[in-house]
């Protein structure tokens, strides 16, 4: 077999493995659907998510209103689709910056070692002992209600987890010879970290980021549910759920639609996280899971489990 052929067949195995990875596919499909409705929202929603029409209040499912209307006669389907826009915006604007900063700090301290590493890790330990929703509530109430404070509180809350996971992942790499070689060739610290260390320890970080997005969905909707996040009349899922409580007896549909939407999105992020982990670390799929990278991911999860 020529080298090129072997390369192609390797790619094919990877591709077919990817296709067989049903969890990853289903998760990506769900996230894709929500993303489409978030981007195309303004063009595809049949009704305005904010416009009230009291004549039509609490109407059942019909041809015009596929999922019926809420207590102010607003179309539930439109509000649900529009809600994905709000939630996904919050997720992207909180988790991604938090991940970038956290990963840089984590990689840097694992590279520098010494007192700095010790101090940062102890701070991370304290921050992780702080229950997540509490921290988010405190930050949200101190920065006032609204989207900005939700984004801020989620990103601050996520930061220690990212530092811990990326530090653990970079630990095994930053001592390797090729990093030393890069240093000997005169590469700057920044270059060593971003070009040589980080690309080789990305898999646990990617997995952690995906799972963190799932947690962020629960947290941001939860804050709005408690009245500390997005405010009325915005069609935020947690807020819709909170308003639906009054009508639980008469119109349970009001609660089911946003609730199922939140659950589906969180489920999708979890499926993708699990799928990516299997894909990036095939050993795990076969039952061996004791690489040091996975340990660091587990440590990161410690927090994830704690804060739902």
């Amino acid at each position: 077999m020529t080298l090129r052929k072997r390369g192609a067949s390797l790619r094919n195995t990877r591709l077919s493995y990817l296709c067989k990875n049903r969890r990853l596919l289903i998760g990506c499909a769900i996230i894709g659907l929500f993303t489409i409705s978030a981007i195309a929202g303004p063009f595809i929603v049949p009704f305005s998510p904010l416009k009230q029409n009291l004549m039509d209040a609490l109407a059942g499912a019909s041809g015009t209103h596929l999922l019926g209307t809420d207590q102010y006669g607003r179309d539930i389907l439109s509000r649900m689709l529009w809600g994905s826009r709000i939630t996904l915006t919050i997720i992207l604007m909180s988790v991604i910056p938090s991940a970038l900063v956290g990963v840089l700090i984590g990689a840097y301290i694992s590279y520098r070692k010494g007192a700095l590493e010790f101090c940062v890790l102890r701070c991370v330990d304290v921050a992780i002992a702080f229950p997540g929703i509490l921290l988010a509530m405190l930050i949200a109430s101190s920065f006032g209600k609204g989207q900005t404070s939700v984004i801020l509180s989620i990103s601050i809350y996520m930061l220690p987890g990212f530092i811990r996971v990326s530090r653990g992942a970079a630990l095994g790499v930053s001592n390797l010879e090729y990093v030393e070689a890069a240093r000997a060739l005169g590469a700057s610290q920044f270059r060593q970290i971003t070009r040589h260390i980080l690309p080789n320890c990305l898999s646990p970080i990617i997995v952690h980021t995906t799972l963190a997005m799932g947690i962020a969905v629960i947290l941001s909707s939860g804050l709005s549910f408690l009245g500390l996040g997005i405010q009325r009349p915005q069609p935020e899922w947690g807020l819709m759920l909170s308003d639906a409580r009054q009508y639980l007896r008469t119109v349970p549909r009001l609660a089911l639609v946003p609730g199922v939407a939140i659950t589906l999105l969180v489920l999708a992020f979890n499926l993708v996280g699990d799928g990516v982990r299997d894909f990036l670390d095939p050993r795990r799929a076969q039952g061996f899971r004791n690489s040091s990278q996975n340990k660091s991911v587990k440590l990161g999860f410690k927090r994830a489990i704690q804060d739902r």
Partner: protein
């Protein structure tokens, strides 16, 4: 071992102190003047300045901080702005409610989590395994407030078996603790399944089977024993999460636990109560983590002897 215990305890105390400090300074940057809340918004400036002096808000920051620490040591945490009752009383009341919830949910979590996880691992890759784990994934992904509403819809609205909200009788405890048990149990069962499955695939289990031990003996004596530490961690995290007042669940059921108290006092800007409740929750979390670390050491001879 003694060295390990001392180290852990010192670190826990330091963490509590760090939490105290963080809460103190966060409270000082919170918008909204607590003095105005106490004396009323139509008070004149002399009344305000008298109150400020009484509360010690004119002292330098460091003096205020010292007084605040002294208050914690002597158990004088001030009075609730809303009710005029002592903060200690409010916290004790709310935490006793939360404790009742945890006492009911904890056995269920251990039973569900370990039984389901071990069963799924034992029947690895069977239909039973897949369906149990599918349920567990949904359990992990469903937001607690949504599950709470669903259970309320089923048991209080449709079947009319249980009261929907409030506290007082044992019946009021069932729905909130069921919600907590379902969510935490799902999470524990996932951890248990992963660890036991990994262990059952290992060489020493194969050796034990090859030398003629029965599958049950191997499962109980070899597999369960060695996978105990991660399972204890998972359970400990869940307990910490619940003791911290699963705020979202308690709010849905209007159950007057610590999480509910916190949400209520945040929306009423009842600063002394917020402060004390946050510190209480964080300390409980730190304490539970300490307990988990110790039981880890008991279950894992490597930590016990290594002293690290």
């Amino acid at each position: 071992m003694i060295c390990y215990v001392l180290k852990r305890i010192t670190f826990a105390l330091l963490s509590v102190f760090a939490v105290l400090t963080v809460v103190f300074f966060v409270m000082r940057v919170l918008p909204g003047d607590p003095v105005l809340l106490i004396v009323g918004f139509d008070a004149n400036s002399t009344q305000i300045s008298i109150m400020r002096e009484e509360l010690g808000l004119d002292d330098p920051m460091i003096v205020q901080f010292a007084n605040y620490l002294k208050g914690f040591v002597t158990g004088n945490l001030g009075v609730s702005i809303r009710h005029g009752t002592s903060v200690i009383q409010e916290i004790a009341m709310a935490s006793s409610h939360t404790l009742a919830l945890v006492a009911l949910a904890f056995p269920a979590i251990v039973a569900i989590g370990i039984c389901v996880g071990v069963l799924a691992a034992y029947k690895q890759d069977s239909f039973l395994d897949h369906s149990l784990m599918a349920v567990a994934v949904v359990g992990v992904c469903i937001p607690p407030y949504f599950l709470a509403l669903l259970l309320m819809l089923l048991f209080s609205v449709q079947l009319r078996w249980l009261p929907a909200i409030g506290a007082g009788s044992i019946l009021h405890l069932i729905l909130p603790s069921l919600t907590l048990a379902a969510i935490s149990g799902a999470s524990v069962s996932r951890t248990t399944r992963a660890c036991v499955a990994e262990c059952l695939n290992s060489d020493y289990v194969r050796t034990a089977l090859a030398k003629g031990l029965s599958r049950n003996a191997v499962l109980i004596r070899h597999a369960l024993r060695s996978t105990l530490p991660p399972i204890i961690t998972a359970i400990g995290l869940q307990v910490a999460y619940m003791l911290g007042g699963a705020a979202l669940v308690e709010v849905v059921y209007a159950y007057p636990g610590i999480g509910w108290l916190l949400v209520e006092s945040i929306s009423a800007r009842d600063f002394p109560v917020i402060q004390a409740a946050v510190i209480y929750v964080a300390s409980v979390t730190i304490l539970v983590n300490l307990g988990v670390d110790f039981s880890y050491a008991l279950a894992d001879p490597k930590i016990r002897k290594g002293g690290s």
